[in-house]
């Protein structure tokens, strides 16, 4: 028995939704960042699944995934650095309190 494409897509959707929920609901900025990672990986799952089922001869899907990994790693590094910087100045990383965009 073969696993149909839809299963991957449903899985990726669930994963994306979990990640998005995490981003919206967590108060801890690190947890928000983790949610973002989940969303990125859900996209990666999609990309790989589409590559495998629709265009197996074309490498662009896999290459895109590698790019996303790279960018996600950079993003995590910059994001965590920002967290530390924010923590140092404000003694908190609660996103509810970081509302300077309002001003």
């Amino acid at each position: 028995m073969t696993v149909p494409l839809s299963w991957y897509l449903i899985f990726a959707t669930a994963l994306f939704s979990l990640g998005f929920f995490g981003v919206l609901s967590r108060r801890n900025a690190v947890a928000v960042l983790m949610g973002v990672e989940l969303m990125l990986n859900a996209v990666n799952v999609n990309l790989v699944a589409f590559w495998r089922y629709l265009t197996p001869t074309d490498l662009s899907g896999q290459i895109f995934v590698v790019f996303v990994f790279t960018v996600a790693a950079a993003e995590a590094a910059v994001g965590l650095a920002l967290m530390i910087s924010i923590y140092r100045t404000r003694k908190t990383i609660n996103v509810d309190e970081i509302n300077d965009l309002k001003h």
Partner: protein, 730 residues
């Protein structure tokens, strides 16, 4: 060649006009330069005038077609007013007199105005230092303008220009009477120069308005105002004297009668005839050269000149049955006697001369009224010479007495220091000046003799005799006897003046120390005295024994020839011994009576006028000029002031109220509009825009929390909504 010199006529009024502008525009700060410019201008005008006049005298054939040079001036539809100059015998005679008298008086003025003695030296330190009147330049500017007016009036060839120059002279008269406008007297009843100027201007205005009405009527009928076109046109004059107009109160009068009557009123005002005579005596408040020039020699005789010019119209009116000539004769003769009686009781040396001027002008009008216009113009010319001489002589006397007064003060033999107002014009402050001011005295006596018509040797005798001879010959007995009585009074008051001023012993310190005047003042006197003596030989009747043959009466003949051109036939009066002897007797007896009263036993200091004792209340009436000033104050000035105050109240009570009401209404309207339109509509719109923006901002601000999670949530919701909308979109 001889004709071509007339082409210079239009230049005659120009030099003085240029002098006027040069002084007011450039030379005003330089006083001596101003006087030189003025004198230079008038001398050029004099030379031109004499050139034209003498050219006319030696070529009597010009009377047949007088010279006229005109250029178009004001086009009005089909009618074009021309500006032009004309020369006929009357103009030539006037030019001869005016040019010369003007020049003499200008020269005299340079001396006369160099004495600011009447001014407070503390108020005018500069004037006292340089010895010139503080408004020296202005004086010469004014008299230059005046000279322009007079010369222009004489050469003008139409009535419109004549009227314009007439008014220029009126303006100058006003300015010059009030020349010392800051002068005031301790006696509040004595008229000040400022008030006198106003009085002269307003009184002559009465006549001028009527004159202008006459001009307008004449223009309506003739369509032209040129002298030669109107007055040499017999058909037109005849038509004017036969068509009538109905007037309220007067009934039907001929147009010629109406027009000549209106124009005569202009002459009454200008020549100070009864009942508009009141301004001339007060005009003596002006500087004495002005009195000599304007109020004796030239301007006041412009009225006579005007009527001489209008003689064809007057005689046409008389032919048409109008009584206007009789009216002229009546006014003239009455004024001649009336003014002479006032002159008898005056104590101011210039006032006597002022009344004698009015009286002598009355003689001229009387002559015009009886048709003897030749005698009138000759008397006008000769009178100008001797009357300007008398006035300038009186100015010289006033100067002398004023100097003497200052001298007496300076050396401490005054009245012990207490400042009493001293009137240097009062004849009772004079006496014995013959020895102290010989040139002034002798020329004054010559002028006075001429004015009194001293028989045979003076000019005034011949010219006045001609008027009386005409009155006698034409049977105007009432006029003759009135004028003869006037002649007696004239001789009396003139010699009263001479005896009081020059004979006896000095009655005040001032007269004791009076010096002779400077040469610029005495030389014109001598020059004029020559004409006052010999000028009359142009008017000696041809059939007079001995001298008649020598003089041949050339001026009168010339005028009569000119009269032919205008259709005026004046028969030369036959010489008649009866009126001549009567007038000689009267003149001589006037002199003798004056000698008996004032010359035989000269008055002592502070002694009253003996006439006052003999005439009693009559003297008081004469001294107060028949109370005409008071009468006019009562009937003219006071009602005018009442009317003015009534109109003032009307203005305040009615006009101002209406204006205020309109103002209040507008304020109310503005307030209402502000409330309804400004406050509710305009402000509402502006505030509405603001409020909408505020509300929108308040609502939209709620979604800007500054929290990225909220934004993301909104993003999510938006995407979900868009996704749900996709099926509807396609």
């Amino acid at each position: 060649m001889s004709e071509s010199i007339f082409n210079l006529t239009w230049l005659i009024p120009l030099p003085t006009a240029l002098a006027f502008f040069a002084i007011i525009l450039f030379a005003n700060p330089k006083k001596r330069l101003s006087s030189k410019i003025a004198v230079g201008g008038v001398i050029i005008a004099w030379i031109l005038s004499w050139a034209v006049a003498i050219m006319f005298f030696v070529n009597p054939e010009f009377t047949e077609q007088p010279f006229d040079l005109a250029v178009p001036w004001i086009p009005m539809g089909n009618i074009v007013f021309h500006m032009g100059v004309a020369v006929d015998a009357v103009t030539a005679g006037m030019l001869f007199m005016v040019g010369f008298v003007l020049t003499m008086i200008f020269i005299y003025s340079t001396g006369y105005m160099s004495f600011p003695g009447h001014l407070d030296p503390e108020k005018y330190p500069d004037a006292a230092k340089e010895g010139l009147d503080p408004r020296y330049s202005r004086f010469f500017a004014y008299i230059s303008l005046f000279a322009t007016g007079m010369l222009g009036l004489v050469v003008a060839d139409n009535l419109l220009m004549l009227f314009i120059f007439w008014e220029i002279m009126g303006l100058c008269s006003y300015l010059l009477i009030g020349f010392w406008f800051d002068k005031s007297y301790p006696d509040p009843k004595q008229i000040t120069p400022k008030a006198a100027g106003l009085k002269a201007f307003l009184t002559t205005r009465v006549g001028d308005v009527l004159f202008m009405m006459g001009l307008i009527f004449l223009f309506i009928h003739a369509g032209d105002l040129n002298f030669q076109n109107i007055f040499a046109n017999q058909e037109f004059l005849h038509e004017l004297s036969t068509t009538t107009v109905n007037l309220p109160f007067f009934g039907a009068v001929t147009w010629a009668g109406l027009i000549s009557m209106l124009i005569f009123w202009g002459a009454i005002g200008k020549s100070a005839q009864f009942p508009l005579h009141v301004w001339l005596p007060d005009a003596m408040e002006g500087p004495t050269p002005v009195s000599a020039l304007i109020h004796a020699a030239t301007m006041v005789s412009a009225g006579v000149y005007l009527i001489v010019r209008m003689s064809p119209l007057f005689s046409a009116a008389a032919h048409g049955g109008s009584g206007v000539m009789m009216f002229v004769a009546f006014i003239g003769a009455f004024t001649a006697l009336f003014a002479a009686t006032i002159a008898v009781a005056q104590k101011d040396i210039k006032k006597v001369l002022a009344y004698s001027t009015i009286s002598q002008l009355g003689y001229m009008f009387a002559a015009l009224g009886i048709g003897a216009w030749v005698a009138a113009i000759i008397h006008l010319l000769i009178h100008a010479f001797f009357k300007s001489l008398l006035f300038m002589g009186s100015g010289s006397v006033i100067h002398g007495v004023h100097h003497g007064h200052e001298h007496a003060h300076a050396h401490g033999h005054g009245e012990g220091g207490h400042e009493e107002y001293f009137d240097p014009q009062d004849m009772f402050n004079m006496g014995g000046l013959l020895k102290r001011m010989p040139i002034t005295a002798w020329t004054f006596i010559i002028g006075g003799a001429s004015l009194s018509a001293f028989p045979l040797i003076t000019a005034g005798f011949w010219s006045k005799d001609e008027i009386l001879a005409h009155a006698w010959a034409d049977g105007h007995m009432a006029v003759y006897w009135t004028l003869a009585a006037g002649a007696f009074l004239t001789a009396f008051y003139t010699f009263r003046q001479i005896f009081l001023t020059f004979f006896g012993s000095p009655r005040t310190e001032a007269a004791e120390h009076a010096p002779e005047s400077v040469r610029s003042m005495t030389w014109p006197l001598v020059a004029l005295a020559f004409f006052a003596l010999f000028g009359g030989f142009v008017a000696v009747p041809e059939d007079f024994p001995v001298v008649g043959g020598l003089a041949s009466d050339f001026l009168a003949k010339l005028m009569e020839m000119q009269g032919e051109f205008y259709g005026l036939h004046v028969a030369p009066a036959r010489f008649d011994w009866t009126p001549a002897l009567i007038s000689m007797t009267l003149a001589l007896s006037g002199i003798v009576v004056a000698w008996l009263v004032y010359g035989w036993k000269p008055l002592k200091a502070k002694q009253p006028d003996p006439l006052r004792r003999w005439l009693g209340p009559v003297y008081t009436v004469l001294e107060n000029k028949y109370y005409f000033d008071e009468l006019y104050y009562f009937i003219a000035v006071r009602p005018t002031l009442w009317l003015a105050s009534f109109f003032y109240l009307f203005d305040r009570g009615v006009i101002d109220r209406i204006v205020n009401w309109v103002g209040a209404f507008n304020r109310w309207l503005a307030r209402t509009l502000r409330r309804w339109i400004d406050e509710y509509i305009i402000d509402g719109a502006v505030n509405g825009v603001g409020l909408v923006t505020t509300w929108t901002g308040a609502v939209v601000r709620l979604i800007q929390t500054g929290q990225a999670q909220n934004y993301l949530l909104i993003l999510l919701l938006s995407v979900v909504i868009l996704l749900l909308l996709i099926p509807f979109g396609s």
